[in-house]
Symmetry: C5
Subunit: 358 residues, 5 copies
């Protein structure tokens, strides 16, 4: 059986029907397990990081004059998330979107904060994970809500801790940019993997004997590309709107970075569409491969049958038991017949050679 | 015979020709039967629900300081609907669109009210129903006109009765939003069903022996997706216009909810297009499956014929009745011939093995 | 031979080259015959209808305080049309477009009148007719120029005569709307016919033995859809511009009706594209049908050949005339051989059963 | 060998690389030969036409108060064209575009003149010619530069000479309109030819025995349509910009004519896309034709083999030389066997009849 | 094995993940080797050119009142590039994009300079090279950063040295235009090569015996076109924005040239899409070629089998050893049988002739 890339990309079913809008129901992967909270407080001079498992504990870490990054892993404990939502005065619809892991990427502007939904694509234990993530960008805080533990932000954490680059001197808007940038950078990794898969399949088709399973692998690749595309493409519009937002939360000096991010997401999108078209082409190649093979099979059959069926007929003639067949008595008949048969055989071979079937 | 999903989705014929515009002719499913009226009167403190079969009766339930939701099931009794239209001063074209079940989703702004047409997709008795529904949103009333009994609003009714969520404290615009939200939520269910169908067919194609009927099932699925798409896609534009309307009927606090609704309809649309592309891919997979099977059939034929036709020819040679065939007299001819035949047989097998046909 | 729908839809050749623009040359179906004139004069109280064959006669029917609808059937008598054009002061380019039946639908705004070109699709003597029609909408007159007798306006004529609906109380703009509405209503009929054709062909493909002609029928249907599409789609833009025109000729109360008309033309267009996609799908279905049939043919051949070719070989062995074939003398050889053959036969059957070819 | 339409449509290679922009290098068909100049001077009352071979000669024909149309045939003599360019103060980039016959259609607005590039498609000596043409529209002059002798302007010349229509009374803008109109009118001729080709091929496919060359003819037609499309489509935008230009060179009364021209180019474009889609459909039809033929061939083979292979096996049985075959001695064996064979034969025929293969 | 065009077009992997934005990491072809610097200083009267290997050396060549073109070949020595960036005060994101050779074409406007990224396509040692190039356009300087030695700018260098054309009298904006123009001119060469490849493959398909490798060549061509398209298309937007920029760096007189450049890039893009569509069509042609060949093979088999299988059956009949076969004794049986066989043979030939299989 073919191992499918797409299996881990499949999304859970949609939010439950007949609930009022704003109902906070967790819809996601069952294994998301415990909710854990990580608080990173920083400014140019200071950096503190705390792990906690209750929201109340977490709040006390917040210090003045610092940017606070509040990262929540695991969305099944909706009570904690609602507590956090109350503390930061989040709109009920935001809370609903945070825990609804089927929500597509979007950006919403509220009075005091921006709300951004995205999808992280990354590898964990050799599987491709499609993880729902939400951002709330406030004046001096950033909240991130992830479906489960494990993310693509270790680079950002390291730069925060070691004060590497501009990240500690810039505001909360730069932090959100840096996190989105990390997400988009990992898209490149995923797309590179797709491109390798395309090229591997292509190599197999260039060989003369691709396995029959290749059609399923191609279909699976096509599907994987469609799903990755669906996670990535809406973010293009989100970043474009993020780029053009007239909002005090986003400082001018961050704009250049967001421009750059927009370039990157465009590039990922173009790559996805390129590999998509190539993957579609693979199917065509496979069809011609099959047709060519069938053609070859038919030629072998036709050549064998066309040569031996007439010869068998001739042999059949002289196997008849008529009493008066004059040739039967002649001494050299047998040898002459062999000669005739060899001539017919050679004529057939010549005919097939001229038709380039041999 | 294949059971088709689409049968119940087929729309009746268009409105009758040669009628002046604004003519109120019921065009719809024959079985829609009796017209029944349901009046729900509510404000923050009170809630009343009445069922009636005559419009005049219904009017008396209307109370002051309350929002009135007037729900009509069954459109064949056009007289009652015209009475209602007169009472609420509806434009004749609106009445025409209410009873013309082929009308596509749209939104029209009139002086005192908004008029919205949509399609409900839901399951009833294991069949997928595509039901025409119209909304009239006034300052303190909402009229809904459904083609037949049965709808997707039980959740909304429950929340109204139990004052659950914000529904009793918000205005008529929120009620229309809640009803549209219920419709879109049910689209998700329908789309999930399509996705399961896609995956089921895919599983069958992964097996080596899909039934021949699968081509009709794929076509039927493609058609079902096209029809669902046609019911859903125009609503995207309707909700987008609903979202951007500058109209006193829609309060600011409801806007966020409509934004959210717009996100959902976009998500449904994207899903539909994803499954559509997958369904189209199924046909390709099926074609390669057929070609592969034909290839296999041809190989079996070619191998059998290529091995036995030459051997039969050799046997035919020594079945000839010539008087002078020297080999016939030699004692070991028969055994030597068996040897030759076995060698030929093995060479053929080797040849086919090397060609990877065996 | 297959009867083709499209034949009657084919347009004549384009206007003759090397003529100055504004040259009035009739380009159309030869059979359009005589030009006949119909004048309908009406206001709220009065209604008169005259048939005449000369323009001069017709002018005298015009009465004050009334709307005049001047309908010309047959465009080959260009002199009469030019006379009319002079009377109403029409721009030469309009006259050219009136008699050039290949002109695509359009709307042009002139100082004192609007000029609209459309295509009527309707059935006449069991043939689908694609007839060129032009409208000139003035303050108190409407001119319509039709390629030939027979049209889709009998419903409008009836309502005018019997003062049914709003048609006698509204102005010339409402009359043009009513005529366009009649045209669009007939599009629905044509599209319904296409949908029935699609479904009929589909039924045939669901049967196991569609005739070979079906491929021509599908192609013909595809072509018919393309041609209908080409007659209908430009009108979408025309009506959209008609709807948004800031022009005193179009009264506010007519706007709602034109909105409605725009909805209808959108709906026709969507239906056409739906049936178009279905028609394209039919070809795919047919191809898989052929492939399936070929597969079945090949299986029968392979089974017959694979069973009997080896058996014939065995029979051939013992038909050889070697003097020393030990088996020939043994008394039970014949019966043993039958046994062996039956075993081989059964093994083959079992093999094909397991491969699900039987 | 198939005669290809497209050969004469192929464009020469692009302008030579490593030249500074504005370099005047002739890039075109080698056979364009001599440059010849034609000067037409006209106003309402007067008309003069001169042919000359040197630019200096030509200038002296220019008269006051008249419109001068300066038409150059042949672009290889770049010196003469540069002289003309200096005289009329043309920008160097214009001169480059005039002689670069690969330049796509465009319109450029300069201070004192408009520059328009288009492609003429017409028949010359039974070949379809794609000729590069440039227009310079000044206040009282029009310059046209053609790649070679022969054009589509004889109708315009005739109307100028005979003062037929409005051409002598309107300005230079009307002349450019008239010339573009002549070009677009000839597009209709070319498109009609394509449509006839589509229909001819379709007729051939309707016959049961299309030649194998038809696939090349279809491909050639598809290519021809692509090339015509490429010559025609950019002009659509050019005329649309021409129509909307706010420029004193274009008088109001000419606007209506340009509108009309825009309608025509839209119509040509729609026709091209219609025939394009039909041409693509032809390939599908051809593929099903091939598949149907193959199906028929296979059926004949299968029927013949399925009937005679078992019968031959039976005959083979009784050709064996076993000493104890009881049937051989029985007097009626031979006749009974014939009976059995005829029964088998009839059963096979019945089986194939029921499968509708016969 | 098929030589593939695309191999040299493949881009390296994306920039390394987990780096802060603005990190200067070289991502490119390993062989880019040494960094070399070329400084060209010029004004109307003077011209100087220096080659240096250190940035500091290079700075001293800069003279007043002149335009300086600073060209860097080789991006792996990031330290030198950062030095240059500091000298010209370039934003860190620009430096990152300069050395990230996977960056797609773009244009960014900064306060004192414009930043443009493009891709050069040209031939070097018979291989198609896709080289990353960045431009910084300042008031009196132009910086160009190339991935490796070798470029398409020799024509520009020659015109600078020999003061040919307008290049020495116009500003830095004209120089950037001239360099971009050289890049686009080379696109034409690449596209011409693709067009020749398309035509070569087409010729091969027109022959009756295209090699089986042609399917890989077609796929390779399709891929090459996709990759060239991806290098070229984003530049279309870049030049369009360059054209419409309101920026003091771009003088009015340069605008006309940029317009012209925009025309050229549009033309390249159209050509690419034309050849793309043709390349897609090649696959269809190949499929019909295969089908036609298979058809022919099948006909030969069917004819041979249909003629000789029945005749062999007849011979088998009279090879049976029944004791009572009356025909065997009759003297002329053998000759009559030959007659019967010849008649059957001729009937079969006639049948196949009538079916046009022969």
């Amino acid at each position: 059986m073919v191992k499918r890339i797409t299996q881990s990309l499949r999304r859970p079913k949609m939010k439950s029907v007949n609930q009022p809008p704003g109902t906070v129901t967790y819809v996601g992967r069952k294994e998301s397990g415990e909710t854990s909270l990580e608080v990173i407080d920083y400014n140019k001079e200071n950096y503190e990081r705390h792990i906690s498992s209750s929201t109340e504990d977490a709040f006390k870490f917040e210090a003045e004059d610092r940017i606070t990054w509040f990262n929540i892993d695991g969305l099944s404990n909706t009570a904690e998330i609602e507590k956090l939502g109350k503390y930061y005065d989040l709109h009920p619809l935001i809370i609903e979107d945070i825990v609804n892991t089927t929500q597509r990427p979007k950006i919403d502007e509220y009075e005091d904060y921006l709300f951004i939904v995205a999808k992280m694509l990354y590898h964990q234990d050799d599987k491709l994970v499609n993880e729902h993530i939400s951002f709330v960008l406030g004046k001096d805080y950033v909240l991130t809500f992830q479906e489960a533990g494990g993310d693509v932000f270790d680079g950002v954490r390291g730069r925060l801790e070691k004060a590497y680059g501009r990240i500690r001197t810039n505001g909360s808007d730069y932090l959100v940019f840096a996190l989105l940038d990390a997400i988009v950078d990992h898209y490149f990794l995923v797309v590179d993997e797709l491109s390798e898969k395309v090229e591997k399949l292509e190599e197999q088709l260039f060989e003369s004997q691709p396995s029959d399973d290749i059609t399923y692998e191609i279909q699976d690749l096509k599907r994987a590309i469609l799903r990755v595309r669906r996670a990535v493409f809406p973010l293009k519009e989100v970043i474009s709107r993020f780029q053009n937002l007239e909002n005090d939360l986003i400082k001018t000096r961050t704009k250049n970075y967001i421009n750059d991010l927009h370039d990157h997401i465009l590039q990922v999108s173009e790559n996805i569409d390129l590999y998509r078209e190539m993957a579609w082409g693979l199917m065509d190649m496979y069809m011609t491969t099959i047709s060519n093979k069938m053609n070859e099979v038919m030629k072998v059959l036709t050549i064998m049958a066309s040569i031996f069926i007439p010869l068998t007929f001739i042999a059949g003639i002289y196997g008849m038991n008529f009493e008066y067949i004059p040739e039967l008595q002649w001494e050299y008949s047998y040898f002459v017949l062999w000669g005739v048969m060899i001539v017919i055989f050679l004529l057939m071979i010549y005919y097939f050679k001229r038709k380039k079937w041999l």
